[in-house]
């Protein structure tokens, strides 16, 4: 198999696994945020911010994928 193929698989894994990881992390945070918003709407902004914090992990994965593909 040419090296490019393995690099592409590596890049895919980096984004995919990072996505699964942040999904697991966001699951409980999102549920809790929706629960808090259901009781008090003023939690909306804070809840949204806390929910997307684990998204940063995907950005790391994406950075690795870009490094692999283009450098």
């Amino acid at each position: 198999m040419p090296v490019e193929g393995l690099v592409a698989i590596g890049a895919g894994l980096a984004v995919g696994l990072a996505g699964i990881g942040s999904g697991i992390a966001e699951k409980d945070i999102g549920a809790a945020a929706v629960g808090a918003i259901a009781e008090d709407r003023s939690f909306f902004g804070q809840g949204l911010i806390f929910t997307v914090i684990p998204e940063t992990i995907v950005i790391f994965g994406l950075v690795i994928a870009i490094l692999l593909m283009f450098l």
Binding site: D28, A33, G35, A36
Partner: protein, 354 residues
């Protein structure tokens, strides 16, 4: 752990976040002190402008004054617990539902008492708090039954049927409602102790809280009955098995104490909550068990509060909230009733659990 928790065990993150948001709306301690300075109409207005507004507005056409406040508080409590039950799932729902069965017991006891003293349907209905598993419809059906035996029959298919039917014989002999009440309490705690779930540390804490409660209930019964010099065989019939510090052997030993003073002396061997010492002393000075019962309740609530902070994603924060909410409603009721009866601020304050 992460995956097992999410595989249908319960929606812990969602439920605890909702309950914690609700907890933020509970009255702070200062509010009770502020309420003590007010008179009944002012208290009524204060509650009417708080989170109890909806219930006060709803019942305002039917009741007024202190009755309105009492019914609104009960209705709010029932709705609040009903909502908690509706958004809990899986094991969480099982645990909370079993705990909230206490309101079923409360309602069944009220109906039985009402039937035994010939109270009207409306009078019985007013004492009910439909926060348990029995629906309002079912409770209304039970209220319409003519006799105590019919009420018991009406509960066929629920967990209360078996203990009630076995207590029916004793009731027919003695005509004392304590036979039913005792059987219901025992069945309630036996049901809670028999819950079979995966069992995390937090769930164990929940069970330990129940065990503490059994201790508190048993001790309260012992204090009351020993003071009346009831025979030990009769006392033992009222003891609920499953306590943490006081096993059945300990309880038997305490029940066999020759008199009340010796019984109090024997209690020194056990590690009691801190406030109990002074409370027992005060009760011996005043001749009233009030201080002891309040100290027991305070210790239990403090325990509930403590465990509610230990495991954020578990049943304990919800249990802590239920205990706190119940205390709030009780305190408001005590203040309102006390003010109406023109009790002194000090007397009312001594009844509050703050």
């Amino acid at each position: 752990m992460l995956f097992r928790r999410s595989a249908g065990a319960g929606n812990y993150a969602y439920a605890t976040a909702r309950v914690k948001a609700r907890k933020a709306f509970l009255f702070p301690r200062d509010t009770y002190l502020k309420l003590l300075q007010m008179d009944v109409p002012e208290i009524s207005r204060f509650i009417g402008e708080s989170k109890y507004k909806e219930e006060i507005d709803e019942l305002a056409t039917k009741y007024s004054g202190i009755d309105l406040m009492e019914y609104a508080l009960n209705l709010n409590l029932a709705r609040d617990f009903g909502q908690i039950m509706s958004f809990c799932e899986g094991d969480l729902k099982l645990l909370i539902g079993s705990y909230l069965n206490r309101w079923d017991i409360w309602n069944i006891k009220s109906i039985l008492r009402g039937k035994s003293f010939g109270a009207s349907e409306e009078e019985i209905r007013e004492t009910l708090v439909p926060a348990g598993s029995l629906s309002t419809q079912k409770l209304n059906d039970l209220i319409r039954k003519g006799t105590i035996a019919d009420v018991v029959e009406g509960l066929a298919g629920t967990m209360f049927y078996k203990p009630l039917t076995s207590a029916l014989d004793e009731y027919n002999r003695t005509h004392l409602l304590s036979a039913f009440e005792n059987a219901l309490d025992k069945a309630y705690y036996a049901n809670l102790m028999a819950i079979k779930i995966a069992g995390t540390t937090a769930d164990e804490l929940f069970i330990s809280f129940i065990k503490h409660e059994i201790d508190a209930v048993n001790l309260r019964t012992l204090f009351r009955l020993k003071r009346e010099n009831v025979e030990h065989d009769k006392i033992m019939a009222y003891m609920i098995p499953g306590g943490s510090k006081f096993g059945m052997d300990d309880l038997r030993k305490l029940a066999q104490a020759p008199n009340y003073n010796e019984f109090v002396g024997m209690l020194k061997e056990y590690k009691l909550p801190e406030d109990m010492g002074p409370a027992i002393q005060k009760s011996q000075e005043t001749g009233s068990l009030n201080s002891v019962e309040i100290a027991l309740r305070k210790a239990l609530i403090a325990n509930g509060e403590k465990i509610s902070h230990l495991y954020p994603l578990s049943v304990t924060p919800i249990l802590g909230y239920i205990v706190r909410k119940n205390t709030e409603v009780n305190n408001l009721r005590i203040i309102a009733r006390g003010k109406e009866s023109h009790l002194s601020d000090e007397a009312i304050k001594s009844q509050l659990v703050i």
